[in-house]
Assembly symmetry: C2
Homo-oligomer: 301 residues x 2
């Protein structure tokens, strides 16, 4: 298939691109490299076409090939969405509108990486019937993009991701994924900081499981027009993550403790029955296995 | 009070500004004149401060006074929202974000002119508990703007307008308000076109009634944080409008008939109990009286 991965140089995008290439697809990656890097694609750089463009520019689709499927992965970090809501609209909404108009013209299916944080989190487990209650510009703009896909009636699949983790994920001022933060610090012998009391929970999904679902979606006709949560269905608290990373790195370091992060939620877990059934898919990697793979691939031990 | 009316040179805005001036307020009008005109403000041009700026420009709030209240009336025409959805986002969302950030900094109340077309129209009468189902980018962006007001937690009142009509309203390629279209054509002795079978209904609210509610809202503490529909509560079909205009103009002209407009809805009527109660307000002008006033003010007869 001819496939375009927007945001394909990022953490999730680059893993997806590798898998698409190994399946034998013709893959075009478009990325503005504001967050992704060409390093992420170094293993497969000769097997793909890379174009450096910003999806929020209305001309970004000029002189593009046509595709069977477009994956929409660009996003502006959630943590910056209150401080720069305009850029959030540009990347998370205007980029999508530009893409929809191109997809409409070329009759292309869009697979959209949305966010499970859109849901009202007051009751768990959350499923696809839980009502929406976006609490940040990031989540609001993801929701607005979903609605644009419906308004313009392009073939689409909406995937709301749980908390994704895996090799190649980075921490920065913009993103602080907790598992990578713990691995990075602990592998250097430094104490990471556990916020709140560490008993807040998340539904962590390992990148390989996520990519498997993303790959399956593109060939699945039943999935068109559907919205699905992609998570593990397992609730894990931050203290458990900490303990697992310590065990796998074989270190014993006392963490620092910090206050509750603004807007942090207490518990999070998803029911992923819809994706299980529609895609015949299930996230199989345990947290321990996932952490082990990151440590191994990144030679942290 | 110090009041800013964004989009104050338009049809609705200019009527509001006149009333605010006659109440003795200090009024600043900001408008990019893309749709409004200075002619609309000619009666009161010496009593207001006019600034030509585009609210979608992030610098539009530079060197502005501070205000007690900001009215947000700019919008990009609904009829153009599918053909230019990016401009729709700029005016209807980014303009609002710019305004919210200024209001947050200066602790100013925003009174937002949203749209009753956001609601699911499958059951009437519609009230504020009817679920949302935006079917155009225009309606989606109005809804998104409402959600931004809540996210940023600025003092706000959201007003969802029914179909507003009155003197100074224009027809153009972008806007074709049916009452004005009928008055314009019939006063020239030309036959207007009735689309569909003319039995589709709307809830028409006369501009003076709407402005009365807008004025009342600004001083009403109970209204803060609320969403209200402003309509007449009366269902009128297009054939009745046609007949009333003919009677008031004292003409007898057979209309042309045309097909159903794309996306047109069959029936529309609102329950305006919330605004009636909260604002101690009710739209009192009958369709006949409203049409009579337009004809008189515009010397059409």
């Amino acid at each position: 298939m001819n496939i375009c991965v927007l945001g394909g140089a990022g953490f999730i995008g680059s893993h997806l691109v590798e898998e698409l290439v190994s399946e034998g697809n013709n893959v075009t990656v478009i990325d503005d490299l504001s967050n992704g890097t060409l390093d992420n694609l170094s293993n497969i750089k000769n097997s793909i076409r890379f174009i450096k463009r910003d999806v929020s520019n209305p001309n970004y689709t000029d002189n593009l090939d046509t595709f069977d499927v477009i994956y929409y992965l660009p996003c502006w970090p959630r943590s910056l969405s209150f401080s720069n809501p305009i850029r959030d609209v540009e990347v998370n909404v205007i980029g999508m509108i530009n893409t929809i108009r191109y997809a409409k013209k070329t009759n292309t299916k869009i697979i959209f990486s949305s966010n499970s944080g859109i849901y009202d989190t007051s009751k768990i487990p959350i499923n696809e019937n839980t009502k929406d209650n976006p609490t940040t510009p990031y989540d609001l703009n993801k929701l607005t993009s979903e609605k644009y896909l419906k308004l313009y009636d392009v073939p689409n699949v909406i995937l709301r991701f749980a908390t994704v983790y895996g090799p190649r994920q980075k921490t920065s001022d913009k993103w602080k994924p907790v598992i990578i933060e713990f691995i990075n610090k602990l592998s250097l012998g430094e104490p990471p900081t556990i916020l709140w009391d560490g008993k807040q929970t998340r539904d962590f999904i390992f990148i390989d499981d996520l990519v498997e679902a993303l790959i399956k979606v593109k060939d699945n006709e039943k999935a068109v027009g559907e919205t699905m949560i992609l998570g593990s269905g397992t609730e894990t608290n931050i203290n458990q993550v900490y303990e697992t990373v310590c065990n796998e790195l074989d270190v014993k370091i006392e963490p620092h403790h910090g206050p509750k992060a603004k807007g942090d939620i207490r518990r999070m877990c998803y029911t992923c029955k819809k994706a299980n059934e529609l895609l015949n898919w299930k996230a199989e990697t345990t947290l321990r296995e996932g952490i082990k793979k990151i440590i191994k691939e990144e030679h942290r031990k």
